[in-house]
């Protein structure tokens, strides 16, 4: 069990999970992105600036244009594969830190815990407060604020998750597993709910069609859930096998030494 072992497995898990996630995003998400762009162009032909394939309305940006065909395939793949692989590496090393430090959990179990806590704090909590928006939703003037809000909520959720795990580690020997998990999860929930209530609400939907919005957000949720579930499942499998192999080697050596 070395950092290298975990990093390599995390990157592999991240890359493979990204492929699944890309499949979901392309097949479930892209039809909704296209539907949203159709709404955008129908609603604001003046803003669309005559770009029949342009996905959003930086009408005054005289910059690069990427065709919808490329955005929805290679562009989408670039985004998901790089983020997924990087996340895989981070989750791998976080799991390496967790091994042997969380109660009596075996390496595969502590890895699963890292993936679940990671998904909730990195992805699910920010989504619940600031759900993803399709093209055509969102005022260009507020992108700075909205980006800041999103990462503030994400940062607080991650810090709260780390704090909850640290506190749980201290409580475990004193009050038992059940109460420890209740206290840690409850503390985390309290922090993120208060944060969510305190942060400004963003509502720039206007009269965007509800069905497209719902289906887009569902697709976005599935894209991220697939990515995290994929990383978690693959990494738990790889780490479990690694640990099994290492303990077997140790056991064989002990046996040989005792003869």
């Amino acid at each position: 069990m070395t950092p290298r072992n975990f990093l390599v497995r995390g990157l592999i898990a991240g890359f493979i999970a990204s492929l699944f996630s890309f499949g979901i995003a392309y097949s479930v998400g892209e039809p909704q992105v296209d539907a949203a762009i159709a709404v955008e162009q129908a609603a604001a032909p003046d803003e669309a600036d005559g770009h029949d394939h342009h996905s959003h309305s930086h009408a005054d940006d005289a910059g690069t244009e990427v065709s919808r065909d490329h955005q929805s395939t290679f562009g989408l793949a670039t985004g998901i594969l790089t983020v997924g692989t990087a996340l895989g590496g981070v989750i791998g090393l976080a799991s390496a830190f967790a091994v042997g430090r969380i109660g009596r959990l075996r390496p595969s179990q502590s890895t699963a815990l890292v993936a679940v806590v990671g998904y909730v704090s990195f992805s699910l909590v920010p989504f619940l407060k600031y759900p993803s928006t399709p093209p055509a939703v969102g005022n260009g003037d507020t992108i700075g604020d909205r980006t800041l809000y999103y990462f503030v909520v994400q940062g607080i959720a991650i810090l709260a998750a780390v704090a909850a795990v640290v506190v749980a580690h201290r409580l475990l020997d004193r009050i038992g597993t059940y109460r420890t998990v209740l206290a840690a999860a409850g503390g985390f929930l309290l922090v993120v709910v208060v944060t969510a209530l305190a942060m400004p609400t963003v509502n720039e939907l206007g009269d965007f069609p509800a069905d497209t919005l719902w289906l887009f957000r569902l697709a976005s949720l599935l894209t991220n859930a697939t990515l995290w579930a994929g990383i978690g499942i693959i990494l738990v499998g790889l780490i479990g096998r690694l640990y099994e192999r290492e303990t077997m080697t140790v056991a064989r050596k002990d046996l040989a030494a005792s003869l």
């Binding site: 996905s55 562009g75 790089t82 996340l87 590496g89 390496a96 042997g100 969102g138």
Partner: protein
Amino acid sequence: MSQTAVAIPDVEIPPIPVAELAPWAGFVFLIAAIVLFFISADQGAVSIPSGNAIHEWVHDGRHLLGFPCH
């Protein structure tokens, strides 16, 4: 004794020392932060470099991964 043939011996699991993890973690977190910045936020709220080529290229991924895009 253990129940199955492949049961893992019930041994203490030694944690990986922080000193051994730190350089790996530092480097990977740095790379991940840079990757995340370019995929999630660049040429939206802030632009390094200026223009919109990166934004355009990762546009759909940014929307579907749930980051504020524009």
